[in-house]
Amino acid sequence: MRSHIPSYELATLPSLAATLERMAREPAEWKPFAGGTDLMVLLEAGKLPHRKFLNIAHLNELRGMAITPEHVCIGALSTYSDIRRHEILRREFPLLCSAAEQTGSIATQNRGTIGGNIANASPAADSSPALLAYDAELELISAAGARWIPYSRFHSGYKEMDLKPQEIIRRIRLPRPQRPWKQIYRKVGTRRAQAISKVCFAGAARVEAGLIQDIRLAFGSVAVAVVRATQAENILRGQEPTSTIALESQDALLRDIAPIADMRSTAEYRLRVARNLLGEFILSLAE
C-alpha cells in the first residue's frame, strides 16, 4: 500500500553547515536524503518508517572527485554515472566502474549515489565489494567535526553501521595502486540489467614471479553485510595460483561467508556460485 505522502517531510536547508547543525540539534529526528533511489521505492511500497528527511542532493561540498598522487577522493554524492564515466577511476579502479555500470538502469545510475549505496547498507550493494577490495576509507562529518574510518570496519551487522545519527558520509578515499593488480568484478543475478545480485564478487591480486604477492577478495549478498574473505586470502597469499591452492581457498571461504535463502536465491546456490567465482579468479591468475 502507498504511503501517506503528506505525513512525510523533505526539508532543504541552504548549506552543509545548516544541515549538520540541524542533525546535531535534533539527532535521530532527521535522516539525509540524496538520490532517493532506495528511499522512494520504500516510500511507494508503504515501508518507509522514518518521516523526516533532510535533502542533501544540492550540497556541493559532498560532490566531485579530488585526485592527489596517493589517493582518489570520491564525493559521497557522486552518482553511478559520474563514476562509470570518470577516466582515472576507469583506469585505476575498474572494479568500482564495473559495479557502477551493472547497478540498476541508466536512470537509476543518474540518481543513485555512492554515499547512499553505502549508507543504505544493503548486503547486496554492488559497489561495496569493490570498495572493500580497494581498502576504501570513509570520511564521516557532523557539526562536531570529521573522522576517517576504514570501510572494512563500517558495517557491523545487518543494516548496522558505524555512523552516528548526526553524521553523514562526506567522501570516500581510495589509495591509488602503485603497481598493477589483476582484477575482476562479477555480478550474478537473474538477468543482466536491473537485477539485484544473488552474489557479487570483487577480486584483486598482485602476482609477481608466479606467486600471489597480495590478494583481496570481497563478496556481496553472502552474509549480513558485504565481507572481505580474509580466511581465503590468508590461504592464497604467497602461493602459486594452482588448482590445489584454489580448492583450499574455496574451503576456507566457508568460514568467511554465511549465505542465506531469501526471495532471490538459496543458500546452497549462493555458496556454490561464490566458490566458483573464487576458483575461476584464482585460476585466471596463472595465465
Partner: protein
C-alpha cells in the same frame, strides 16, 4: 493519521516553460507532472524505478520521475514526452517509432522515446549493444523489443551526418 507536513512551493521549468506548484515535499515528480500540470504523457508503470514508463529528462539526464520527490525538482529543467516534438514536427525517434511499429499498447512508449532521445543525444551513432544498454531500464510487454531497437536504429540513420 500522522501529523501532516505543510505544502511547499516548488519552482522549476518543464519543456522550456517556468512553472510553480504547491505540493508536498515528498510528492512524486510523476504525480506533480500528471496531476498538477496535466502533462499525462508521462506514464506510471511499476512505481518503483524498475520499468522506466515514467522516464523524463532532468537537467539533461534520464531519470525515473516516480523516484524524484518534488522538493528535489526545485530549479530543475525537466523535459517530458510533450517536449520532444518541435511544435508540429515530430522528433526523428518519434517518426521512426511510427514507421517501424515501435509502439503497441503505448504505455512504455513515452519513456522508451525519452530514453532513446537521451541516448542519441549522448551518442549520435550508438552500436546495437549501446542501444540495448541505453534502453535496458525501459520494459515493454508487447513488442518483444525487436521493433523498438529497429526504430532507434532507423532514427540514427535519419540523423546520420551527410558526406
Amino acid at each position: 493519521m500522522p501529523e501532516a507536513a505543510r505544502k511547499i512551493r516548488v519552482q522549476f521549468r518543464v519543456n522550456g516553460c517556468g512553472v510553480e506548484v504547491e505540493t508536498f515535499s515528498m510528492a512524486r515528480l510523476l504525480d506533480v507532472l500528471r496531476e498538477e500540470l496535466r502533462l499525462t504523457g508521462t506514464k506510471e508503470g511499476c512505481g518503483e524505478g524498475e520499468c522506466g514508463a515514467c522516464s523524463v529528462e532532468m537537467n539533461g539526464a534520464l531519470v525515473n520521475s516516480c523516484l524524484i520527490p518534488a522538493a528535489q525538482a526545485e530549479g530543475a529543467e525537466i523535459r517530458t514526452i510533450e517536449g520532444v516534438a518541435d511544435a508540429d514536427r515530430l522528433h526523428a525517434v518519434q517518426e521512426a517509432f511510427l514507421k517501424c511499429g515501435g509502439a503497441q499498447c503505448g504505455i512504455c512508449t513515452p519513456g522508451m522515446i525519452l530514453a532513446a532521445v537521451n541516448l542519441l543525444e549522448r551518442h549520435a551513432q550508438p552500436t546495437e549493444a549501446e542501444i540495448r544498454d541505453g534502453l535496458s531500464g525501459n520494459l515493454c510487454r508487447c513488442t518483444g523489443y525487436a521493433r523498438i531497437f529497429a526504430s532507434v536504429i532507423a532514427a540514427c540513420r535519419q540523423t546520420e551526418p551527410r558526406a
